[in-house]
């Protein structure tokens, strides 16, 4: 009786492991093929920075601020001044791939949902010095203040 029970149990368990092996094997193979065909730097970047079609698009750069203070000494203080108000932000500089004034404003625009363009009427002060060249680098601890008409 006991042997019969053991043989039945072992058959059940073996059947389970076979089914598991088939599902796991095919699942992992499918994921590997998906990665081969579907994952590269461009796709990764699109996942992280692609614009959401559900997100509100704004034309007022000062409408929202990034609140809080990042735990890093490599930050940039970004102040935007508009006719409608002011947006005060402290951002970790490390997130910006392009650490120029143009790069910071473009990325900030993407984060908040407005389209930055150098053709727009921006007047910027970098560490209290007026700047015209948007390709100037922004260094850690910088204070970037831009007004927008």
């Amino acid at each position: 009786m006991i042997k019969t029970h053991w043989s039945r149990v072992l058959r059940e368990v073996l059947a389970f492991w076979l089914i598991f092996a088939v599902f796991t094997g095919s699942g992992l193979l499918y994921l590997a093929k998906k990665r081969q065909a579907g994952f590269d730097a461009k796709i990764y970047e699109h996942l992280l920075t692609g614009e959401s079609r559900f997100k509100e698009k704004i034309d007022d750069p000062c409408k929202y601020s990034i609140v809080g203070d990042p735990d890093t000494t490599e930050y940039v203080k970004l102040t935007l001044k508009c006719k409608t108000g002011q947006s005060n932000n402290t951002l970790a500089l490390g997130v910006f791939k392009d650490q120029t004034i143009r790069g910071v404003l473009t990325e900030f625009g993407r984060i908040n949902g407005f389209a930055f363009s150098p053709d727009q009427n921006w007047n910027c002060l970098l560490n209290l010095q007026p700047v015209k060249d948007m390709s100037l680098p922004v260094t850690p601890g910088s204070d970037l203040s831009c007004s927008y008409d």
């Binding site: 389970f16 992280l48 614009e51 908040n112």
Partner: protein, 475 residues
């Protein structure tokens, strides 16, 4: 209908279940989904987004990409992904999200549930994964827990405890808020309860299908989070207690543990197929985390009810649940409930990590059942009547303290003298029980039922009052 026909209909348990259970579940669903996307504030736990992103990236690209911040990851990519404008709402600290891949913090089942749902709803980039989508699967899991708690409590203790336990889980503010968050513990809690239900059927009928269903529940729990191993371990202890012959114990253990072992093997195979060095480094790093719950973890677990790391939401039901558990230990029944809580306590203390409120979710269904048990038993056992009444006063007091202030003299008058009169009544009745008059028993039953109704109503009221403004004021 004659009087006896009416009485027979009222005594029909199936009828009560068919009427009450869908109603209770509907109330629970409504409470969870109303304001489900604004309280807790989106971004108060970035785990919700991480779960969705890992699932979405797995489905779309085969590579899990999520938030971690563990230093063991080679690919460390801080980003501001302003989903739900969480960086503008104050929920965030201003730190960018630490994006890592391949993401191995936890097994992929919860991400696949949450991310899969978001993908079905059209989310294709990470910013699409709004709480409007990603909290829905959690709300459904939390709602499904209500009838499962009913079912388990009915198996263990009967209809009265089942109705009350499911009501507690449906209206408890802590349970409602926790049920909105897309955390893996929601899946573990569900499967933990289901595992015990199947095991109870197995012990009753000896039908091996139930054993396999229990086993699969355990395996599924581990695929939500590794702490889900508690489901199989707790079930194993219960199995050994209920099965006498060694051969039967070993055979059933082999069945019960196989899917859990398979879940662990799957996670290993999944990790090694993606990046074996990274997988091992993350596993070792997770194992070496700071013991964030602290050495007073058990005291804090009982006396404080956290929702996130920093927000506390005191809920008297679960304090009563610990009392109920204590009273259960002197009884033979409810062994599954007792083992579940003790086993998960062991896992909770072993894993340590951080004192996040959601790590406690798997305790809650069992504490809800224990609370219901204490109250229903106090209806039946005169010796427990004062304890049941005091337990209910605890819950009522916690809720009233949040709904009213002590600045209103009328409120204070009612509260002070209402409680004094009630306690005098309880004392008088308790003394009368020594001579066992019927009228004393009837009055005590009315008191317990009235207090239960007030406790449930005040919980419902408090849960409904948790608007965004009220949530900001909670510390």
């Amino acid at each position: 209908m004659t009087k006896s026909q009416i009485l027979n209909t009222l005594r029909n348990k199936r009828l009560w279940i068919l009427v009450l259970l869908p109603l209770i579940t509907l109330v629970g669903f409504k409470l969870r989904s109303d304001r489900g996307t604004i309280v807790p504030l989106p971004g108060q736990s970035t785990d919700e987004y991480s779960n969705a992103w890992v699932g979405m990236s797995l489905i779309q690209t085969g590579m899990p990409v999520g938030i971690s911040g563990l230093s063991a990851y080679t690919n460390q990519d801080p980003r501001y992904i302003n989903v739900d404008r969480m960086f503008s709402s104050g929920a965030s600290t201003g730190n960018p999200m630490a994006i890592n891949y391949p993401w191995f913090d936890h097994p992929p089942l919860m991400p696949l549930v949450v991310g899969g749902y978001a993908h079905l709803k059209g989310a294709r980039v990470f910013e699409d994964a709004s709480v409007g989508y990603i909290r829905k699967p959690a709300i459904i899991l939390g709602t499904l827990l209500i009838p499962l708690v009913f079912w388990l409590a009915f198996q263990e203790f009967g209809l009265g405890v089942a109705v009350l336990a499911s009501l507690i889980i449906a209206v408890s503010p802590l349970m409602v808020i926790n049920s909105r968050m897309s955390q893996a513990e929601a899946g573990i809690a569900l499967l933990f309860v289901l595992n015990l239900i199947w095991l109870n059927y197995y012990f009753k009928t000896k039908n091996r299908l139930y054993l396999w269903l229990a086993a699969v529940s355990g395996g599924g729990a581990v695929l939500f989070k590794l702490s889900g191993v508690v489901v199989a371990l707790s079930g194993l202890v219960l199995l050994w207690m209920k099965t006498k012959k060694l051969a039967a114990r070993l055979q059933d253990s082999l069945v019960l543990l196989s899917p859990t072992l398979a879940g662990l093997v799957f996670f290993l195979a999944y990790g090694f197929s993606l990046d074996p060095h990274q997988f091992w480094a993350v596993f070792a790093s997770n194992a070496g985390r700071k013991y964030g719950i602290g050495l007073n973890a058990v005291y804090e677990l009982i006396t404080q009810t956290r929702v996130t790391a920093l927000k506390y939401l005191t809920d008297g039901w679960f304090l009563v649940g610990w009392l109920g558990l204590a009273s259960l230990f002197s009884k033979k029944n409810g062994m599954g409930i007792k083992l579940a809580v003790i086993s998960y306590l062991a896992i909770y203390l072993l894993f340590g990590s951080a004192p996040f409120g959601w790590y406690r979710i798997p305790f809650l269904p069992f504490l809800g059942i224990a609370a219901a048990y204490l109250i229903i038993t106090s209806l039946k056992d005169p010796k427990l009547f004062p304890l049941g009444a005091l337990a209910l006063l605890t819950t009522i007091g916690v809720n009233l303290g949040k709904l009213f202030t002590v600045d209103d003299p009328q409120t204070v008058f009612l509260f002070r003298w209402g409680n004094v009169l009630l306690l005098l009544a309880i004392l008088a009745l308790y003394v009368q029980f020594a001579t066992k008059p019927k009228w004393a028993r009837k009055i005590s039953i009315v008191i317990i039922l009235a207090l239960t109704a007030i406790a449930l109503a005040s919980s419902l009221w408090f849960t409904q009052s948790l608007t965004l403004d009220a949530w900001y004021k909670i510390t």
